[in-house]
Structures are given as structure tokens and as C-alpha cells.
């Protein structure tokens, strides 16, 4: 029961305010009221009566005389009706016989009127009705508050009877499905007009209702206005006293938007990581491009000198055929050899060719690694070679760690292929490698300048594979360890990290692969992150 109602029932139903200016009547009515069991508050002044009623926080019964100093009884009732409290109070106006004709006017303001002299039985009856009325009003108000409350809950709220027919249907349900309460009331939930994308949904719903336990389902596809949307629903049965179900409450929400936000977040983290990579990748590609260009330039200049030399050689050959070669022709040849720096060219041209080729291979490797790493468009699990995937990620992050750390791999060569969302898995490994290199850079910056070590190992453990990324970095302080996987938690400087890396790794491993992720860390010694994923695929949560 609502608190106003219970308070009223418990305490205030037996109090009456009596306003009467005539002393004799006042004493008389007060005695009557006391005799029939009411506690009485008296006043001789209309204005005081109004103040008392307006200021009272609980519903009151009031008996008011027609004529009162400062403000007569009718006016008190009128004012009260206009104030915000009027519904809480019940007013009885005492009307002299002489004012019989004006009694109707009086009743416009008051809830009831009694003729003077007051008949005790009628007074008692009126007060009982008054108490009832106050109770009723309070109940009605509390009920409409509850209705409003249910109406405005921002999730779907549907009441079902024990047969699965709709008894309640809130505003959110109307907005979500485009169906009005009056159109669905009394219909079975499976057949009320919701357009389920899956034709088996009706059977499915029947099954929920029969099992009568709490049932939760995410991503139910349905149509709204021809648009495919997704719903998350929970069905709870309302237990009755005889252990049977008294009906069901269905709560839920349209999760289309939430799911798309989550997908966007994943995407934006991916973009962020790619942007971060791109800066480093640019550097990685710039370097070979520089020396491929320089060597090509050198080969061009070298060719110009060699072409002159070759021309002259051909000339000498012709001259030699026709007889003796003049000394100045030979001297010219020697001069060209000298100018071309022939010994240098003979030695350096093969090296330049070799190094230019090497440079191009490096660029090719970086670019194909980038492609392999991002796995565009793979939304399904494929069996992949994890060792190879990790190798690729190591290659694309080379610029992140090579200045501060050596990277060692200890791969299980017999590792089975693992069903995996390759792009997301790579992303998780990338985040761990980047964190490891930052942790090591932290040590390098604070202490000596020697490099640290990142060790990545893989192994099989029954139905699982375990990947470990260990660093010799700063370690994670004990006090922040519990927060490591929280989204947006970061210890890096503003602009250096968004606190998404580990949160994403966690979501990828735990939600998308039904795996586990944890870490062991010792301050000053380093941190090891472990990831464990099942070899055989399990369905991914979104």
C-alpha cells in the first residue's frame, strides 16, 4: 500500500479540525466529537482554519461553521479547493437552517454540509464517509502515479496472464513495436502483431511460457516499419501462492542502437590503432624508400659514365681492327675510366642493386603485413595459424618496440589451427605488444638506456591454446591492477592512450572468443599478459 494511504489509515483518520466562532456551539460539537472517538483541534477563526489545513502535511477532516471571523466557512472551502492540498482534505460545512436556500452554493466548495443544530448520528456518518473519501482519493492518486511510472519506464514492460495473454503494455512497448495498448490487450504475446523475423518465434515464446523460469534472450530480430531491428528480452514468471504461475512480466529493450554503438566503438579503436600504426609504418616505409631512391639515383649516374666508357670501348675496337691504336685514344680511355671511377663502380653497383632490391622487399613485406593484419571484412571465425598471425603483428609493430626492446618468440610449433576472428585477435595481440613496449620504454626513460625484452609464447593446453606476452617493463602498481581492463582507464599521458587497448583485448578474448585474459605483474620486474582461447569455436557474443 502507498505510504500516504497507510499513514492516513494508521494515524490521522481520527483527528478533526473544528472551526466555530460561537462558544456554545464550539463546546457542544467538540464534546460530541470527543464522544464518538475523535481527537479535536479547535479554532474560532476562519483564516486560522485555512492556514492549519493548508499547512498540514497529512489529509484532514474538517468541520467548519458558516460564519467565522476574518474568513467565513464557504470561503475557506473555496480557497482550499483551489490550493494543491484540496484533494487530501474532507470538509463539512455547518449550515444554519436560515441559510437553507444557499446550501447548494455552499456545497460547491465543501465536500458535505450539515444543518445546525448538529445531529450526532449524522455527524458520525459524515465523518466516516469523509475518512473513506480521503482513503479513496489517496488510493486513486497512488494508482495513477504507478501507472504513470510504468508508462514512462524507458524499457519495454509487458504484463501477461498465466495463459500468455497481454494484460499490460507500456508506452515504450507501444513505441518500440508501433502497436497501441488497446490493440494488443487480451491477445497472446506470440500473436499480438509484433513482426518477428524468425517464423519459429511463436513456438519459441510458447516454450518460454511453459518452462516458467526466468528466460533471457538477446538479439531477437524483428521488423519495425519494414526495418530490421534487434531486441533483447527477459521473461519472468510471477509466482502465485499455489506454486503455479500467476502470469509473466516481459521486460526488454531495442538493442539495435546499442549494438551499433558497440560496433562503432570497436571500429574506432581499430582506426585509432591503425592511425598509430600508420605513423610508425610511414617511418618504416620511408627508410627503405630513401635508400632505394638513392641507390637508383646512383645507378643512373653510374650508367651515364659507363655508357661513355662503353661507347669509347666500341670505338677503340673499331680502331684496333683497322690497325694500330693511337696513344691519345688509349689516354682518352684511361681518362674516362678515371672520371667514371670505374673501380668504385665495379665494387658498388652490385651492392647498390642488391640493397635497392632488399629495400623493395622490405616495403613489400610491410605492406602485405599490414593487409594481413587488418583482415578486412572477416566477420566469421576461420581456423588460422596463430603463430603466423602473431608473427605478422610483430612485423607491423616493429617500429613500436625496436628502439626499446628485443622481441623473442617461443612458439609451440605443433600448435593446432584455432578458430578465430583473425582481425580482432591480431588487434588484441597488437595492443598487448604496444603496452609491453611502452612499459619497457618507461624503464628505459627512467633508468639506464639498455634495451628490454618482450617474450611472446604460445602453447596448447587441452582444448585451449594459451598465448603469453611478457615484458621486462615497469610492472603494474598493485593499486591499479583491478582497473586494468576498464574502458577509458589509462595511466598514459593525455594524447598517448585512450584507455581502450586492454578493454578491447578483454572484449575480444572474453566475449568474441569465449576465452580468458589475465595478467601477472611485479613492480620493477615486468608484466605477463595471458590469453586463453578455445581451439573449437563457440558462438561469439556481439
Amino acid at each position: 500500500m502507498d505510504s500516504t494511504v497507510s499513514k492516513l489509515a494508521a494515524t490521522r483518520s481520527s483527528r478533526v479540525l473544528l472551526a466555530e466562532s460561537d462558544k456554545v456551539s464550539l463546546t457542544h460539537i467538540r464534546d460530541l466529537l470527543s464522544r464518538i472517538g475523535y481527537e479535536v483541534v479547535t479554532t474560532e477563526n476562519g483564516l486560522q482554519a485555512l492556514n492549519f489545513l493548508e499547512q498540514s502535511k497529512s489529509p484532514e477532516l474538517a468541520v467548519l461553521s458558516w460564519t467565522l471571523p476574518e474568513m467565513d466557512g464557504i470561503e475557506v472551502c473555496r480557497r482550499l479547493k483551489k490550493s494543491s492540498h484540496h484533494l487530501n482534505h474532507y470538509t463539512i460545512l455547518l449550515t444554519p437552517w436560515s441559510k437553507q436556500t444557499e446550501r447548494t452554493t455552499a456545497l460547491e466548495g465543501a465536500d458535505a454540509s450539515l444543518f445546525k443544530p448538529v445531529d450526532v448520528r449524522e455527524l458520525r456518518l459524515r465523518l466516516q464517509i469523509g475518512t473513506q473519501t480521503i482513503l479513496e482519493r489517496a488510493l486513486r492518486q497512488s494508482h495513477s502515479e504507478t501507472e504513470l511510472f510504468l508508462r514512462c519506464v524507458p524499457s519495454i514492460l509487458i504484463g501477461l496472464d498465466s495463459d500468455g495473454r497481454i494484460t499490460r503494455w507500456n508506452l515504450t512497448a507501444t513505441n518500440t513495436f508501433g502497436l497501441e495498448e488497446k490493440d494488443v490487450k487480451g491477445k497472446p504475446i506470440g500473436d499480438c502483431g509484433i513482426e518477428w523475423s524468425n517464423p519459429e518465434m511463436k513456438k519459441e515464446i510458447d516454450r518460454w511460457l511453459r518452462t516458467a523460469i526466468e528466460y533471457r534472450c538477446d538479439n531477437l530480430p524483428y521488423l519495425h516499419g519494414g526495418e530490421k531491428r534487434l531486441l533483447g528480452l527477459t521473461v519472468r514468471s510471477i509466482p502465485s501462492e499455489d506454486a503455479n504461475s500467476d502470469g509473466f512480466i516481459v521486460t526488454g529493450a531495442d538493442v539495435t542502437h546499442r549494438l551499433s554503438l558497440e560496433a562503432q566503438l570497436r571500429q574506432s579503436q581499430k582506426l585509432e590503432a591503425i592511425g598509430q600504426l600508420a605513423a610508425g609504418m610511414a617511418h618504416e616505409i620511408n627508410t627503405p624508400t630513401q635508400y632505394v631512391g638513392d641507390n637508383t639515383r646512383f645507378l643512373k649516374d653510374a650508367w651515364d659514365s659507363l655508357a661513355d666508357l662503353l661507347d669509347h670501348s666500341r670505338h677503340l675496337r673499331r680502331v684496333a681492327e683497322s690497325g694500330k691504336v693511337a696513344a691519345e685514344e688509349l689516354a682518352k680511355f684511361d681518362q674516362l675510366v678515371e672520371e667514371a671511377d670505374l673501380d668504385y663502380l665495379m665494387k658498388e653497383i652490385p651492392r647498390a642493386l642488391e640493397q635497392a632490391t632488399e629495400g623493395l622487399q622490405r616495403v613489400t613485406k610491410i605492406i602485405s603485413g599490414m593487409k594481413e593484419f587488418s583482415h578486412p571484412g572477416s566477420e566469421e571465425k576461420h581456423e588460422i595459424d596463430l603463430n603466423k598471425a602473431i608473427e605478422t603483428t610483430i612485423a607491423v609493430t616493429r617500429h613500436e618496440w625496436k628502439y626499446s626492446a628485443d622481441l623473442v618468440t617461443r612458439f609451440d610449433e605443433n600448435l593446432p589451427r584455432v578458430a578465430c576472428l583473425a582481425g580482432e585477435f591480431n588487434q588484441a595481440v597488437l595492443n598487448l605488444i604496444i603496452n609491453a613496449s611502452h612499459a619497457i620504454a618507461g624503464v628505459a626513460a627512467s633508468e639506464d638506456k639498455s634495451k628490454g625484452t618482450i617474450t611472446i609464447s604460445t602453447r596448447q593446453e587441452g582444448e585451449w591454446v594459451e598465448i603469453a606476452v611478457a615484458d621486462t617493463g615497469t610492472g603494474i602498481p598493485l593499486e591499479i591492477q583491478p582497473r586494468m581492463f576498464e574502458p577509458f582507464f589509462t595511466t598514459k599521458e593525455v594524447g598517448k592512450g585512450t584507455g581502450q587497448g586492454l578493454a578491447l583485448a578483454h572484449s575480444v578474448i572474453v566475449n568474441r572468443h569465449q576465452g580468458k585474459i589475465w595478467f601477472e605483474s611485479e613492480a620493477g620486474k615486468g608484466t605477463t599478459f595471458f590469453m586463453k582461447i578455445p581451439i573449437k569455436a563457440k558462438p561469439a557474443l556481439p
Binding site: A279, A282, H283, I285, N286, T287, P288, T289, Q290, Y291, V292, G293, D294, N295, R297, F298, D301, D341, Y344, E348, R351, A352, Q355, E358, G359, K402, Y403, S404, K449, K451
Partner: protein, 399 residues
């Protein structure tokens, strides 16, 4: 005398490539190649170098750290970066100690050209101590009032680019700094930019804020300025307007007009450099002129154009501006064959000088009339004078 260049990169293949492609320069340049910062410092300690050109991202000592050390230990050496780095923080860290920034991959012809220019510049200024002093400068002090206004403006919620550049184009130090940034590849592809206004919009207000607040590359005087020094700004700005007006009268292209303005503004930057270093390097400046002091910047007249040109050259500003600054006293030295920003600044500075009280009588003193007539421009003088008078009248009316 052969020039000595030191290349530093942690990638031996890059060094090999550069060595081969610059083989043709082996008669003029003596080049050495080392794999890291500490080796570079050891090599430099054994033998002085004219230019050091270093990669930025290297293990242990990175390029910014190396160039910072070079700045202190071997200040006469020109410091260049050749880097594939695109990370803004790293780039900002090296703006201070780096004279010029080349972005990898960089065409060997561009490297050759920048090196040639930097080396040619070595002969502009002969005084070794002055070379060291100029080479150490990371910033030229700004007029306090302008810097204060700039800081106030930048702290507003939405400062306008034009408001900011209106302040910067009046100041020698700020103008030189923004032009250094865009003419070298610090912030992306290098561009040939002569206008500080354009430079500001290319650098962007975010970066300007960092230059002002974090890097302190728009620097301040620590004490109050004597009037004659403050007067330098007013004189420079007038000369800039005059030179711009003269170039406009000649219907020059926009780039030349911009060069004329900027060179006019910067033509006395050498006096400013000498004036504010005279305290620190008192022995040095006494050597140059016994009478020179902060109260008398004019006293640096003989040497200041070369000092200014040397700094601007180190900072990689367009050659036209450097030429105009270096030779505005004796333009024939540069052997001009046609109208150029140099001529505009030479004439503008002369007109401006003549407007000073007590100078009016010496009508054509200081003006190289034989050069002007040699170039066939003596008929133009009257139009130039008219254009400058208009500017002067405008400025007087505004004041």
C-alpha cells in the same frame, strides 16, 4: 677548402645509399657516415664539421638529443635533420636545436641543394665567434607588446587566424620562426613561402600555441627595452611596407611582393640579434665595435646584414629574402640583373632612412644610383617615391 659533412643514421643501408649517390660531390665535400649519436659526437670531437645531418629516431641517443649536444659542443656546425618521423611530439622536440628539417624520403637532389646552400652561407659571415653565436640561437626575441597581445589573443576561446597573423607579420622573430617551420619540412611537405601570413595559416593555431606556450620559440626580453631598440620594429615595419609598395609598383608577381615585404621587415634582424647578444657576448661585440650597445643598434651597421642573413639562411628561408637581407646596404655585391626584392628593400630602407629627422638633406646618399640606372630603373624612382609617400602619409594618419 673542402667542406666537411657528417651523416648520422642507425640504418646502414640509408648511409650506403647517400654515400653512393653523393659520390659525385667527393671532390668538394668530405663526407663521413656514422651509425649513432655517440659515434657522431666522438667523430666531431676529432675533427670539426661544417654540417651535421642526422636521422631523428635512433636507439639510445636520438636525433633531437644529438643535435642539442652538437649545439652546445660544436656550435659553429650547421644542424640538419633528415627524418621519416611524422609524430608531432618528436618533431616539436627537435625544432629548437635543428636549423633545417628534411623529410624522408627526400630526393638526393634536394639534399644536395640544401647542403650546397648551407655551405655557401658559411662564407657569408667570416667571424667564427659570430657564427657560433648565431648558430646557437633558437629564437629571436619578440617585441614584448606584440608577444603579450599574441598570448592574450591565443587564450581567447576562438582566436582568428587573421588576428594572429596580423600580429605575427609585425614582428621579426615570430615572422622568421614561422617561415622556418614551413620552408623546412617540419610540418609536412616543405613549401617555398615568403609570407608570414600564409605561413601562419599553414602552421595552424594549435601549433602556434605550442610554439608560444610550451616551446617558448617566440621568446621575450627578460628586461625592459631601451627606446632605440624598440624603434627597430617601427623602422622595420615601415621599410617592409615601402618595399612591398615598390614591388607592387613594378607589378611583380605575388611571391616577389611577399619576399619584398618580409625581407623589408627582416632587413635589420641582424642588429636585433647583435643588440640582444651584446650583453652576453660583451667581449665579442667590443671587438666588432667599441661603441655598439643596446642603446645604439645602428652601430652594428657594417656587420648586421651578414649576421641576419646567416641566421635566416640557417633557418632555410627563401634565397630571395636572404639575398635582400645580406646585401641591402651594397646591392651591387649580389650582381642583380633585374628588379628583385633586394632592390625593393635597398630603396625602401633608403627612403625610410631619409624620413628620419635631420636626414632629409642627404637626398640620395646611400642609394646605389649607378646600379639603379644600370638596371634601367632610374625612371621608376619617382613612382616608387610616390608610392612610399602615400604609405607614410597613411601610417601618419593612422598614428
Amino acid at each position: 677548402m673542402t667542406k666537411r659533412i657528417l651523416f648520422v643514421d642507425d640504418e646502414p643501408l640509408v648511409l650506403n645509399g647517400i654515400e653512393r649517390s653523393l659520390r659525385t660531390m667527393r671532390k668538394e665535400w668530405q663526407m663521413e657516415f656514422v651509425l649513432g649519436g655517440s659515434e657522431a659526437l666522438e667523430t666531431m670531437a676529432r675533427n670539426p664539421f661544417d654540417v651535421v645531418i642526422s636521422d631523428m629516431r635512433m636507439p639510445r641517443m636520438d636525433g633531437a638529443q644529438l643535435l642539442e649536444q652538437v649545439k652546445h659542443r660544436f656550435p659553429q656546425t650547421v644542424r640538419m635533420a633528415l627524418s621519416g618521423q611524422s609524430d608531432r611530439d618528436t618533431i616539436f622536440r627537435c625544432i629548437g636545436p635543428t636549423h633545417q628539417y628534411l623529410s624522408k624520403p627526400c630526393d638526393i637532389e634536394e639534399i644536395k641543394q640544401k647542403l650546397t646552400r648551407a655551405l655557401a652561407l658559411r662564407d657569408v659571415l667570416h667571424h667564427p665567434e659570430l657564427k657560433q653565436m648565431v648558430s646557437r640561437m633558437e629564437a629571436v626575441p619578440s617585441l614584448p607588446a606584440l608577444l603579450k597581445s599574441l598570448k592574450l589573443l591565443l587564450d581567447c576561446p576562438n582566436p582568428s587566424v587573421s588576428g594572429v597573423s596580423d600580429l605575427i607579420v609585425q614582428d621579426m622573430g615570430m615572422t622568421a620562426k614561422v617561415l622556418q617551420l614551413v620552408n623546412c619540412a617540419f610540418l609536412g611537405t616543405p613549401a617555398r613561402v615568403a609570407s608570414a601570413k600564409q605561413a601562419v595559416s599553414m602552421v595552424g593555431l594549435d601549433n602556434i600555441k605550442i610554439l608560444v606556450h610550451t616551446l617558448g620559440l617566440f621568446s621575450e626580453f627578460t628586461d625592459t627595452l631601451p627606446d632605440p631598440l624598440t624603434h627597430l620594429w617601427c623602422h622595420s615595419l615601415t621599410t617592409a611596407r615601402f618595399a612591398q609598395a615598390i614591388a607592387r609598383t613594378e607589378k611583380s608577381d605575388d611571391y616577389t611582393i611577399e619576399c619584398a615585404f618580409t625581407a623589408g621587415l627582416l632587413h635589420n634582424i641582424g642588429s636585433l640579434i647583435l643588440a640582444c647578444s651584446s650583453e652576453e657576448h660583451s667581449s665579442l661585440t667590443q671587438e666588432i665595435t667599441a661603441t655598439a650597445s643596446r642603446n645604439n643598434p645602428e652601430a652594428f651597421n657594417n656587420i648586421h646584414p651578414q649576421v641576419g642573413a646567416y641566421l635566416l639562411g640557417l633557418w632555410g628561408l627563401p634565397a630571395e629574402i636572404i639575398e635582400a637581407v645580406a646585401w641591402h646596404h651594397e646591392p651591387s655585391h649580389a650582381k642583380p640583373t633585374q628588379f628583385s626584392p633586394l632592390i625593393a628593400v635597398h630603396v625602401a630602407a633608403h627612403y625610410n632612412q631619409r624620413r628620419q629627422p635631420g636626414q632629409a638633406a642627404r637626398k640620395h646618399e646611400g642609394l646605389d644610383e649607378s646600379l639603379i640606372s644600370h638596371l634601367g630603373l632610374q625612371e621608376r624612382l619617382v613612382f616608387w617615391e610616390e608610392a612610399c609617400s602615400e604609405i607614410a602619409a597613411e601610417r601618419a594618419a593612422n598614428a
